[in-house]
Amino acid sequence: MNQRAEKLCEMEQAVELIQDGMRIGLGGFVLYQKPMAFVQELIRKEKKELTLVGSAHALDADMLIGAGVLAKIETSYVGLEKFGLARNFRREMEAGRLKTIYYPELMALDRFRANREGLDFWPVNSLGGNDVLNKNSEIIKFDCPISGRPLWAVPAANIDVGIIHAHAADKYGNVQIQERHTLPQSTNTTIAFACKTLIVTAEKIIETSEIRENPHLTVIPAYKTTCVVHVPHGSHPTPTISKTRMDDEFITKYVDASKTKETFNEFLDKYIYRTNNFNEYLNLVGQNQLESIKEG
């Protein structure tokens, strides 16, 4: 009873925190350090009617959309950068099977700041005349109480659960950021402070003594963390700086597979539905391929 709680768990337990219809936020940014192992598990467990809330999305959203997990996405961008358009996203939107609510890229992060501040909205001065505003009844215009100029209340992100992939954490839930980092890494912190339930997947589990040696890197202290799952390569095929590079070859395979619904279903069957877990998926990707994208 008087032992400090350990928060390490298996992926299967972590994913049970997600119920159909929830609003979720995923750490990372576009194609960088995305919690892809968890994304896969949402598909494997056939979660439904989720809303994905974020700033700019790529494979994470496209894969969930192609597998029918999402009913709605709130974002500024769904695309695959140098790999082109996100084909599942495009197909489902053009068929009327998915709802997208647009929020501009950095304003989308302001929505998480609102939650962090305990507020219901974030005020912005950016939206006059834009169809992002005209087509979204949840954004409310008001006059600045000081100057009287027009402002808009953008609703907080209000996610039920946040999921991030970190490069290191300890068994109590202290989460560290890489010494060298930028937006895709700090977005993990943005998500963490905007939710009450935080699932962390981590490349490596380190001793708390090691955490204590570099406490300035612990951007998420243990009290914020709900559970930690140890998942090496957990952002594959997106990179985790200091551990892995982007797997261009695998993403190209993904892009080819997503050309039609049929070929994408075959892809899902092979890599997700017919594998029992992320490790079996990694075996299909192949040890040589994983070695080739190792960093450091």
């Binding site: 194609l31 500024s76 961008y77 769904v78 304003m107 939206l127 937006l183 895709p184």
Partner: protein, 270 residues
Amino acid sequence: MKCSIEELLIVDLAHTIKDGELGFTGLATGSAATIYISSIPLAAMELAKRTHAPNLTILLCGWLFNPDWSKLERLPESEYDNQMMELSCESQMIEYPCNWSHKAGDISFGFGSGVQVDKEGNINSTCIGEIDLPKVQLVGPIFLPEHMAHFGREYIMMPQHERRNFVEKVDHISGVGFPGGREGRKKLGLSGGGPAYIYTPKCIFSFKEDGTIYVKSIHPGISKEDVIRSTGFDIGDLEDVPLTKVPTSEELRILREEVDPKGILLNSAK
């Protein structure tokens, strides 16, 4: 000295940049639009820096200040590519809110693009058709709403100049131009200047004081009829429109020998 259309645009654009400004550009690779969205803006800023604007600050991808391209052999492929992490620069953004503040007016100018632009200077990168059941789904508004609201001015870079791109009214206003002219922008509470120029392979558009669009110059070798035919809204008879000014041989020398000696910028999409 003979020059390419890209060089013509780079030098013209460089002339519009003032000393002491802060210019923002993204990095789009792997598409035909790369030259217009990334290479021309970067080359123009580097040229301005080496001529009349030594105090220009270049903000690349929103996270690297004053990058030094000279050690690179190729353009990085992605905005947060590991290679970008190693690109020599003076400051890196490590989180949001960051080391620049668009909403408070820090950005003097930026570059945007879309599949449609209209006569009010609105641009669309979101969808063709209805938002809930689009005929063609595109990537979304990304950062354009913020560009067009807050930056001092926006350069709209259009790699294609055809009637389907230059339309009477865009299907989705992802970035706001001049609805109701400059007065209209004020009423909408938009703090930035909005679109200032549109660069295309055929001509350069600009906007009058009241926000009306006009053709500022036509590139040598392109006919007035071609520009009129390729533009889906009325731009007049173009009788008095001058030719886009050809760069001097010194400007071309700096561009070719100092700005981009390895062809990293200008050969990236070839």
